[in-house]
Amino acid sequence: MELLFALTIGVLTSSGVYLLLRARTFPVVVGLTLLSYAVNLFLFSTGRLATGGQPIIGSTASYSDPLPQALVLTAIVIGFAMTAFVVVLSLRNLADNDDDHVDGHQGEDNETQLTREKEVTGK
């Protein structure tokens, strides 16, 4: 069971990281969501995997660790807030730049790069 759980987290991480490295905002957001699943599962599993041990007093004989659960519960909600924020950021990027590339502009040619450098150095 532990190996299966670990493999699942690994698969989620790999898929998430691959998508995180893409050039467009939407795959990146999807990648972040997958990564947050992986992280939530990982944090949750620090309390180890228990079957039928829900931490409700009086419901079973032995309880699973409630602390990681409380931690992950808020992490899920905050993760949602973060996803929403990133999504909105990418929408704003789309609105301002008319483009959904993560760099805010598509594979820039030499000319635009030059003007950007000029802006940076102020010459």
Binding site: F5, A6, I9, L20, V30, G31, L49, A50, V87
Partner: protein
């Protein structure tokens, strides 16, 4: 108590003094004098203790864990410096009253001057080396601000920057040195460090520590090759030059050498580093001073030279040399400060400092001329003046150095040579300025004597030169003895402070220097011609060029690393995480821990397979965004199942409802975005990304596996045991959230609220036109709000609200609670938006989501603050049981109010985010406006 007070007073004065600026220069000068007067009075009672070789210590704890304490220490050496700082400071305050013009910002000047005074007193009185370091840096900063006091002058700004760069850089080295010493000794307290001299010198890191400390001292005291900043610091107003850059601050480096003398001196390395640096500085400064036409330039280089002399004396390592060094600190401060003030008066009265134009001033200002001549003679080492005494001791000590072979000649020859130059430039100061024909083309003509009181500081210092010169034993004897005793750790050699020791070799050297110097001055034109053959290096231009080159390189490096590509940042981030975690994880060496693996049941295996396949498919088919989204939702649902499977019902419910909201959110975003991701990266790059992703995923698998199979102990037994008796609920997860760790939850819902408001703000004035179709040639469905969905959605709302109330109320005892209930309510409301449209729903929702968020946070805080009213800590909860009709006995916990806050915040934040995105379309904006009108 008095020592911290002495340090603190000038800082308080710096705050108070500018308030008197309105009252004119006299008022602020008097106000600025008060701290020094009180400080002198506070130091006076300690004199007897110090004269007997005692030490006064006042210590307070500050950061004991870091070894930093607010401890102050007064012994002979620090008293000597404190007196110099306080007394010359008072004279400077008086002098600056007349030097500054009424329209200048005198408030700023006096405030900075007092800040400097406090910092400098801090250096000399600190007992803790790290505390001293803080004051050390403060003097660099105040010096920077004072040099650039005339901010409109470019030279002043550049000089200030150079001074700060050099002394600040040295300060860094010194800090490193001090940390090393503290590490070797195990304490930063001066008493411990001074007592541990043998330990430090025997330590293998001693050469490093010594070099670093000396770097700090040499930069501060303008020693070769760091001397160049001091002449450029002369762009400061003259009172600053006299005070900081000749009498006190530049002596901080020398003070440090004296202070740490017992701990660091007495080794070969100390001898060679300090004495040769001193020798080079002594000679170079004296030589350059001769050729400066600027009055202050001459004095600045002369100061460099004299600082080299003091350094050389400390470097010699003999006890008598250390006594001579301390003595010369006093003498140099008196004659050089008065010379600077005289130079300032001349500048003030003639409008120039160029010695080629200032001549024959004797006729116009005989009084000032007399004073300046006394001080300059002292600088030259003329008998019956104080400069002569310490120079004589210096000559004597230069003969005592036991260098091998011909090198033995080096110190006395250099000493005599520097003496010749000193006499020559002093003669120039006297002859060229006050005699030598008539003034040439002065901006202010005719010059006359300055205001009466402007001369008083000069008079006092010139008088001191004479008094010390004629009656050394009476005037400074006891103070010098106390200071020397403190420097040498109580072991003072026999020495005699008399004006004549009979005819001996040092006296002969003095004669050679005196007549040689006069001869050199009379033949000065030849030397000037000789000197003019060399191209003079403008240190400021070199320094500026170096600085601008470093800045350009730094900018290029920054531009290379931060090229603006988020994609590349993400890549570097992942690679660094992998790289950084590789070594500790490789050293872990565990694959499967002691607990071993447990068997897999087939439903779980199936679910895991679904999850894995869907996750991989999401990545593989991400170009078609809609499919990717559906696959993602499957992943999320299986994750919820996983929580349920492994005994976390609360998490399963949360994940389930969040999943719904997330997918709706992403669908909504996708409405505005292209539905297809183009291929942009080349195949090798994609292969590279796959490899990185596989490494990251593999690493996570190994870490998780290693962790899951390890036995562990948890702090949760406390929560399990106290949930019911302490928190009044049986759902431990919920009790942790709203009670045990309520403060964390408060922080988390605040973050949630901020994120939602951020989303609102980011989209407030943004409009996005969605593409006309789905990007594959299909137009959107015309039926935006299908009838079936509408009809099903509307009756769902009250039902869903009822469920959420139920989930909320039972949350304390069974899976549920504010988070989950809030999400369920949100989903129910979102369903109305989807089914009936933005406008229809918004018309029926009669409140703003901002207010819901605010109300939620308010409830949470009130629930927390309520306990304060009963003298319990913030967020202490209580609970009781009440009997409701029909329902029966019911438990009410104050934590439920807190949970209500959570509930409201979650609803407000979720809906505010989604509605903000929904409003983006200009379509809906126009419509809602129309309906509003």
């Amino acid at each position: 108590m008095s020592l911290p007070l002495v340090v603190l007073l000038p800082f308080l004065g710096a705050i108070a003094a500018p308030l008197f600026a309105q009252g004119g220069r006299t008022a602020i000068a008097i106000a600025s004098s008060v701290p020094a007067l009180i400080a002198l009075a506070a130091l006076f009672p300690h004199w007897q203790t110090l004269a007997d070789g005692g030490v006064v210590l006042h210590s307070f704890e500050w950061l004991p864990a870091l070894g930093i304490s607010l401890s102050f220490r007064l012994d002979g050496l620090s008293l000597l410096f404190a007196l110099l700082i306080l007394i010359i400071g008072l004279l400077i305050i008086l002098y600056a009253r007349y030097y500054l013009k009424a329209k200048e910002n005198v408030g700023k000047f006096y405030a900075l001057l007092l800040c400097f005074k406090g910092s400098m007193l801090g250096i000399v009185l600190s007992s803790n080396l790290l505390l001293m370091m803080i004051f050390w840096e403060l003097t660099s900063l105040t010096s920077f601000l004072l040099i650039s006091f005339w901010t409109h002058k470019q030279d002043a700004r550049r000089g200030a920057r150079m001074a700060l760069a050099v002394t600040g850089g040295g300060g860094l080295a010194l800090l490193a040195g001090i940390l090393l010493i503290g590490n070797i000794v195990g304490s930063f307290e001066l008493d411990d460090v001074l007592a541990a001299g043998d330990l430090i010198k025997a330590h293998s890191l001693y050469p490093v520590a010594l070099t670093l400390v000396l770097l700090g001292a040499f930069t501060k005291s303008a020693q070769f090759p760091f001397h160049f900043w001091l002449p450029h610091a002369m762009q400061a107003p003259t009172p600053v030059s006299a005070y900081l850059h000749s009498a006190t601050m530049v002596k901080a480096g020398v003070f440090l050498m004296a202070r740490l003398y017992p701990a660091l001196a007495g080794t070969e390395q100390w001898f060679y580093m300090v004495s040769f640096t001193g020798m080079a500085t002594l000679l170079l400064g004296a030589y350059t001073a001769m050729f400066k036409h600027d009055l202050k330039g001459l004095l600045a280089h002369s100061t460099v030279s004299h600082l080299g002399l003091i350094t050389l004396l400390f470097g010699m390592g003999t006890k008598l040399a250390a006594v001579a060094a301390v003595f010369h600190v006093i003498n140099h401060a008196t004659f050089k400060a008065s010379l600077f003030m005289a130079a300032g008066i001349i500048d003030h009265e003639t409008g120039t400092r160029d010695m080629r134009r200032i001549n024959g001033l004797w006729r116009y200002m005989p009084h000032t001329a007399t004073l300046a001549m006394v001080a300059a003679s002292s600088m030259a080492g003329v008998p019956l003046l104080n400069g002569f005494l310490s120079k004589e001791m210096f000559f004597a000590e230069s003969l005592e150095l036991n260098l091998p072979g011909l090198l033995a000649w080096l110190p006395p020859v250099i000493a005599t040579l520097a003496g010749i130059f000193a006499v020559a430039y002093s003669a120039r100061f006297i002859h060229d300025v006050f005699f030598n024909g008539k003034p040439v083309d002065l901006p202010i003509y005719p010059p006359h004597e300055p205001p009466r009181y402007m001369k008083i500081p000069v008079e006092i210092l010139a008088f001191a030169c004479i008094m010390v010169g004629i009656f050394p034993a009476v005037s400074v004897g006891p103070l010098l003895y106390a200071a020397a005793s403190a420097t040498l750790g109580g072991d003072v050699p026999e020495y005699h402070l008399t004006i004549a020791h009979g005819f001996n070799l040092p006296l002969l050297m003095s004669f050679v220097a005196f007549f040689g110097g006069l001869l050199m001055y009379s033949q000065r034109q030849r030397f000037f011609d000789f000197h003019a053959r060399f191209k003079e290096i403008d240190e400021k231009a070199v320094f500026e060029a170096v600085v601008s080159r470093v800045v350009a390189k730094a900018q290029a490096l920054t531009a290379w690393i931060e090229n603006g590509s988020l994609q590349r940042y993400a890549l570097w981030l992942v690679i660094s995480v992998v790289a950084v975690s590789f070594v500790p994880l490789a050293n872990l060496g565990i694959f499967v821990g002691e607990n071993g693996l447990s068997p897999v049941d087939w439903p779980t295996g199936l679910a895991a397979a679904v999850l894995g396949i869907c996750a991989l498919a999401t990545a593989a088919f991400h170009r078609d965004r809609f499919y990717a989204l559906i696959l993602l939702s499957v992943v999320g649902l299986v994750v919820a199942l996983a929580f349920a499977r492994f005994s976390a019902p609360d998490l399963a419910m949360t994940q389930l409802s969040v999943e719904v909201v997330t997918i709706v959110l992403l669908m909504l975003a996708l409405y505005y975005m292209p539905s297809w991701t183009p291929i942009e990266t080349t195949t090798p790059r994609r292969v590279r990304d796959v490899v990185i992703a596989l490494i990251a995923g593999g690493g996570m698998t190994l870490v998780t596996l290693a962790m899951l199979t390890q036995p562990f102990t948890s702090i949760s037994d406390f929560f399990l045991a106290n949930s019911k008796p302490g928190g009044g609920g049986t759902n431990v997860v919920n009790v942790i959230l709203v009670d045990f760790r309520g403060f964390d939850t408060l922080g988390e819902i605040t973050v949630l609220a901020i994120a939602a408001l951020g989303i609102y703000a980011m989209l407030k004035n943004t409009a996005l036109t969605p593409p006309p179709g789905d990007g594959q040639g299909h137009a959107w469905s015309r039926d935006g709000h299908p009838l079936m969905l509408k009809l099903i959605a509307r009756p769902m709302l009250p039902l869903a609200l009822m469920v959420s109330v139920y989930i909320f109320l039972r949350g304390h005892n069974l899976p549920g609670g504010g988070f989950i209930a809030g999400l369920i309510t949100s989903v129910a409301l979102i369903l109305q938006y989807i089914a009936s449209g933005m406008i229809w729903t918004q018309d029926r929702v009669r409140f703003k989501y901002h207010n819901v968020i605010g109300l939620g946070l308010l409830f949470a805080v009130i629930a927390g603050a309520g306990s304060l009213a009963f003298n319990y800590p913030f967020l202490t909860s209580t609970f009781g049981y009440i009997t409701w009709p029909v329902v029966g006995k019911f438990e009410v916990a104050s934590a439920m109010i807190f949970d209500l806050g959570v509930y409201l915040t979650v609803i407000g934040a979720t809906l505010l985010a989604l509605v903000s995105i929904g409003r983006l379309s200009p379509h809906s904006a126009i419509k809602s406006k129309k309906e509003g009108a």
